[in-house]
């Protein structure tokens, strides 16, 4: 199984029945494909929709119904539409139970950098800053190393932050890690075939291993 699917499948097990969930653009969007059948979540999109269904195909496409990534989507029974002010009121007001976002860097204090590399790639933060501050639980879905093979999970973020101290959980292809500010990262699950040493070597942040460390299964 490729990393992106493995990570997404594990993230998808984090939700409880009835959760309102916002999935970020890119790899986080894949999580929707793997939500267990016995768990029903309401997907929110910051461009103004609750109750997102599968991608729209052919005659299902309504040019006025997209998700935040610009994909034409269907709406499920019970869906609703609203303007951007109401949408971010939902987000900032604590009505979103969990958000899943990617990261350029994340650190052991729960800081997240995901929107800007100075002097290089400029995309803007979109709704990410609002989501990270507003969602009750912030889950980072990311590959453990960057394209150069360097750690992305750091003691302290070096890139401009998306938000300070808001991340709760990191899921990578190597491990599941909880953030406990002031105490480093707590590894609760480790992927099959990954040793503790390999994980420590691939991570700049300080790691502690849970007494009930489990094998990361999807």
């Amino acid at each position: 199984m490729e990393n992106r699917e493995f990570i997404s499948r594990r993230v998808a097990r984090e939700f409880r029945n009835g959760d309102v969930v916002n999935l970020g653009i890119g790899m986080p969007t894949l999580v929707a494909n793997y939500i267990p059948e016995d768990v029903s979540v309401v997907l929110q999109s910051e461009n103004g929709m609750l109750g997102i269904g599968p991608r729209a195909e052919g005659p299902q496409i309504n040019e006025n119904i997209i998700d935040a990534g610009g994909t034409y989507v269907t709406s499920l029974k019970g869906a609703s539409f609203f303007d951007s002010s109401v949408s971010f009121g939902i987000i900032r007001g604590g009505h979103v139970d969990a958000t899943v976002l990617g990261a350029l860097e994340v650190d052991q204090e729960g800081n997240l950098a995901s929107w800007m590399v100075p002097g290089k790639k400029v995309t803007g933060m979109g709704g990410a800053m609002d989501l990270v501050v507003g969602a009750r639980r912030v889950i980072i879905s990311m590959e453990h190393l960057n394209k150069k093979g360097e750690p992305k999970i750091l003691r302290k973020c070096r890139l401009p932050l998306t938000a300070a101290g808001q991340v709760n959980l990191i899921v990578s292809e190597m491990a599941v890690m909880e953030i406990e500010p002031g105490q480093g990262l707590l590894v609760t699950e480790i992927a099959p075939g990954v040793t503790r040493d390999a994980l420590v070597n691939a991570t700049e942040a300080e790691l502690r291993f849970s007494e009930t460390l489990k094998l990361m299964e999807v």
Partner: protein
């Protein structure tokens, strides 16, 4: 009642040199492509563009930026438009990135007569630079100020002759907010019906906010 229906060329003449222009939509959804395209064809210059995003190579905001008419951009996302990224890196235009929810609420505040609002978004990031930070019940907030424009260009599915607009799906986005926050509001619509033909329960934007209708 004044006739609000104009042709597209006359409608975009409302935008003058140096104006701040709000453009509704989110990515390709709900963008007033035709109005922005017509604006791009005019001779105006030194515009400030306020929009959720700067679109993609396929959307009209891209052409507007390429035309060199825009000297300032305020948006939350410029990733789909390489021209906007270049503006930011080379300093050809001043680009201000604003968290999307903060941008929406600043526009709402501008249209609702508010002097600003306190938001926790951006605390501890570059977004707080130059802003007043206030603490309420032990939690830090940034004072965010209202935004208004000279002209707003928006899009709706349907209008009646009184300017009442019906907008469906996720095309409500910034269109609904920008309709309230500009001195002059131009809406591009697919259909114009007689006043009264849109059920008042179905009006998304009340007609008092809308000055000009352009049927596409």
């Amino acid at each position: 009642m004044n006739n609000k229906i104009k042709n597209i060329k006359d409608a975009v003449k409302a935008v003058k040199n140096g104006d701040t222009v709000m453009v509704g939509g989110f990515l390709q959804c709900g963008q007033p492509q035709h109005l922005v395209g017509a604006l791009t064809e005019t001779g105006v210059r030194d515009l400030t563009l306020i929009s959720s995003d700067t679109g993609s190579m396929e959307t009209s905001n891209y052409g507007l930026l390429q035309s060199g008419k825009v000297i300032r951009v305020m948006a939350s996302y410029i990733g789909g438009n390489p021209e906007a990224g270049n503006f930011m890196i080379t300093g050809k235009a001043e680009v201000t990135l604003v968290p999307q929810g903060t941008l929406a609420e600043r526009i709402r505040a501008g249209g609702a007569g508010l002097g600003g609002f306190l938001s926790p978004v951006g605390v501890g990031t570059v977004v707080e630079e130059g802003k007043q930070k206030l603490s309420v019940d032990g939690k830090d907030y940034l004072l965010e100020l209202p935004l208004r424009a000279n002209v707003a260009l928006i899009k709706a599915d349907r209008a009646d002759k009184a300017g009442n607009l019906r907008i469906t799906g996720t095309a409500r986005n910034f269109n609904v907010l920008m309709a309230t926050a500009a001195d002059h509001v131009v809406a591009e619509v697919s259909e114009i019906v007689e006043t009264g033909e849109i059920d008042p329960n179905d009006v998304t934007v009340p007609g008092i906010f809308v000055d000009v209708l352009v049927k596409i």
